[in-house]
Amino acid sequence: MPGPTREVPVVVKVKDTPPAELLRCPEAPEGFPLAEIGQLSTATRAAAIRIGKAMGVNAGRLRRLVNWLQPDTCAAPRAAPAPAATPKAPG
């Protein structure tokens, strides 16, 4: 009969890490060429702005989520250019 063995508590930290596919930072494709001068109807412009805004908001949220799950994975987006840097002022 073997001698009494001492039990050691086993503490396992369960890491619930999602697949790497889900931890990829949001993509930031290159935007529209600035030189393009065009015309769009008011409704189309409004739709474009809606879509663009939703895209930016979703990307920001995904970045926060990835950083929550794996800290310091996605850097904050580049600093937005100051309005004064634009050559033409409205009006």
Binding site: G3, E30, G31, Q39, A48, G56, R64, P83, T86
Partner: protein
């Protein structure tokens, strides 16, 4: 009355051996009862010890265990006592380890929440300023009925697109 007392005294003095026997028998009976009670008590306790130790997983009775292939005699109750000591230590260790893990998880979560709160604030500020610039540029586009550089810059910024200038 005195005559009766004298008669009793003589009887006592005359039957001393018999009386001694009675006293000794009484003491013997008393001791016998005591012993029987003690034995019953001991058996009950032994049964309890067996039960408790069996529950803990080690026998109460004396036994021989092999330590490094050498038989070692263990006196009665020793293995059981060791087992209970181990169980108590196991419980203590488990509770301590669990508390450490929980505390670490809570600290980690607090740190994450603080970092995320900062990120959320920055994102909200960036969104507000980008939206303002977009509105300004859009009003200008509406007025002049054409999309110029400002409009596209504001749009790329609002949508989180890389500026093609860079």
């Amino acid at each position: 009355m005195i005559a009766l007392g004298l008669k009793l005294w003589r009887a006592v003095v005359g039957g001393r051996e018999w009386l001694t026997l009675v006293v000794v028998a009484a003491i013997g009976a008393f001791l016998y009862v005591q012993l029987a009670e003690t034995r019953a008590d001991r058996d009950r306790l032994a049964a309890q010890a067996d039960l408790i130790c069996a529950t803990a997983g080690e026998p109460f009775a004396a036994s021989v265990v092999l330590v490094a292939d050498k038989p070692i005699a263990r006196e009665r109750g020793l293995r059981c006592r060791q087992r209970v000591t181990d169980l108590v230590a196991f419980r203590t260790d488990t509770e301590r380890a669990s508390a450490e893990v929980l505390a670490a998880a809570m600290r980690e979560r607090e740190g994450k929440a603080a970092v995320d709160a900062r990120a959320a604030r920055d994102a909200a500020q960036a969104l507000t300023s980008a939206t303002e610039r977009m509105e300004i540029a859009d009003a200008e586009a509406e007025r002049r009925n054409r999309l110029d550089r400002d409009w596209w810059t504001a749009f790329n910024d609002l949508a989180g697109l890389r500026s093609p200038d860079r």
